[in-house]
């Protein structure tokens, strides 16, 4: 589904990623681990097309995403969901509106939105919080809204960039359980994290980065640096 072919990302002379190649299949759950600055977030940014690779190419279902123009990029982003470390919710909108925004932006009908948003909020255990604004939510709740927003588009893959970075252990585990549940339903998950306990608990594929290079890529891997 996703393939990185000899991808490098260079900022001035700094190699955030250096000749990285890997493939991710549908329904896979992949943890991308490494120290701070190893290149985890860079992979997420490249997949989100927030940045373009300096060298190499990235394919999503056979399409080179760096060749996408504005309209194509917009459509591509609707096929992937993203959970950011700092949730990145829209502060002037309540929980319902934040989640619905993703569907409105995709041009979905009011009927579809009316049906899907409550369902997704129930999945992430935020039923009853629809009218709350971002400022009224805890860190864990914000991340669950972010996950709901990612999920409501029925994406083929969810990118989670250090989603538990600002959370306490209890909320972290809750979030991970949600991601696992979503993965069971068929959505691929790419989780960038430096949380050793989570990675070791998940026992899924682990891609380990160090100084922009892949040093290990193991099925049912462990956090090893």
């Amino acid at each position: 589904m996703i393939s990185f072919n000899s991808v490098s990302k260079i900022y001035d002379k700094f190699h955030a990623l250096d000749d990285v190649s890997f493939r991710i299949e549908e329904k896979e759950f992949v943890s991308v681990v490494g120290r701070s600055g190893a290149g985890k977030s860079t992979i997420i940014k490249l997949l989100l097309k927030e940045e373009d690779p300096s060298k190499g190419s990235i394919f999503f279902k056979g399409v080179d995403i760096s060749s996408l123009k504005s309209g194509g990029t917009t459509n591509y982003r609707r096929r992937i969901g993203t959970v950011f470390q700092d949730s990145r919710l829209l502060p002037s909108k309540n929980v319902y509106e934040n989640v619905a925004f993703a569907m409105e932006a995709a041009g979905r009908s009011n009927a579809e939105i009316g049906e899907d948003v409550p369902q997704v909020l129930e999945i992430v255990d935020l039923k009853g919080k629809e009218k709350n604004f971002v400022q009224e939510l805890s860190g864990g709740e914000k991340q669950r809204v972010s996950l709901a927003r990612a999920l409501v588009q029925r994406p083929e893959v969810i990118l989670a960039d250090e989603p538990s970075g600002n959370l306490d252990p209890i909320h972290t585990w809750e979030l991970m359980k949600l991601l696992l549940r979503i993965n069971e339903f068929g959505t691929a998950i790419i989780l960038a994290t430096h949380d050793k306990d989570i990675v070791n608990f998940l026992k899924r594929r682990v891609i380990t980065l160090d100084k922009g290079k892949i040093i290990r890529d193991e099925q049912k891997g462990k956090y090893q640096l």
Binding site: T74, L90, F101, Q153
Partner: protein
């Protein structure tokens, strides 16, 4: 259509939910539009003042004592037919005498002098006012080349020419300075409004980027900000117009006594639709345009 309603809804909600940002933005735009309104009033005062000043300038044509009144009236009619003429007043010899007596009735010496004279010493004259002081030259030239030139004894234009030219120069300078002042301040108004809205959009830059990353199109993101710009413009235009309505009502009498002939309240009331339209055009146009331009850089993600 669905998208349009959604864009309008997001724009309206954004305007209302960030009410203090909206109020501050409208406040600054009201100040900027107040400059526009002030320029309109100053322009009206200046125009009226210049017109009054020019209205005081006239040229008198004096005729021979034996002139046939019919010929004088014929000249008057031909002058009145000209487009550059504002008014032509015929003062007969009898009227001139009567005016003199009226003006100097308290002067025993002058009254006694008149009694000494056997006949009416005054000449018939035409008092000519032009549309514009700069047109007197061609009017005088017309008279000097007309069939009536034989009965004309004197035209006082030559004696007053320097004063008239000075007046033309002064009024022209006033108009030019006014134009430069208007253009400069209008530019400042545009800058202030644009930068105000640019600052507002700057505060939303992170949100705009997130909207792009979740798959919103440029127009879906831009639309609500343009709606907000439109709302800023509408509210600021209405508030400015209303505030100035009250202001001119209060100061109209004072400005009228300082600049005779001016009535800024009458000007504001009689032209309220066109003034409101101008303020709307400025406010809404600037609000929408500024929003459109300011958001572009954040859509490049």
């Amino acid at each position: 259509m669905n998208n349009f309603f959604r864009i309008f809804k997001h724009g309206w909600l954004g305007f209302v939910r960030n009410i203090w940002v909206s109020v501050a933005t409208i406040g600054i735009m009201v100040l900027a539009l107040s400059v526009v309104s002030g320029l309109l009033i100053i322009g009206n005062i200046t125009d009226t003042f210049v017109r009054e000043l020019q209205g005081k300038v006239d040229v008198s044509v004096f005729f021979d004592q034996e002139s046939d009144e019919a010929k004088i009236l014929e000249l008057q009619y031909s002058l009145e037919a000209r487009e550059d003429i504002r008014d032509v007043e015929y003062i007969s010899r009898e009227d001139a005498l009567s005016l003199f007596k009226d003006k100097h009735k308290d002067s025993e010496l002058l009254m006694a002098s008149l009694v000494e004279l056997d006949s009416n010493p005054f000449q018939a004259s035409l008092n000519i006012k032009a549309q514009d002081a700069s047109q007197f030259g061609s009017i005088v030239s017309f008279i000097e080349n007309s069939e009536s030139r034989g009965i004309v004894e004197k035209i006082n234009y030559k004696e007053n020419e320097k004063v008239i030219q000075k007046l033309i120069s002064i009024t022209s300078s006033i108009e030019n300075i006014g134009l430069v002042f208007t253009l400069a301040l209008s530019f400042v108004v545009v800058l202030i409004t644009f930068n105000t809205i640019r600052l507002v959009i700057y505060t939303y830059r992170d949100e705009i980027i997130v909207m792009k990353l979740v798959g919103a199109s440029d127009w879906f993101i831009r639309g609500p900000f343009i709606i907000a710009g439109l709302l800023y413009g509408i509210f600021s235009a209405i508030i400015t117009w209303a505030a100035f309505f009250v202001l001119v009502w209060i100061i109209s009498e004072k400005t009228g006594s300082f600049f005779p002939g001016t009535d800024i309240f009458a000007y504001w009331s009689q032209n309220f639709l066109s003034i409101l339209a101008l303020l709307f055009a400025f406010g809404v146009g600037l609000g929408v345009f500024s929003s459109f331009i300011a958001i572009r850089r954040y859509l490049k993600v």
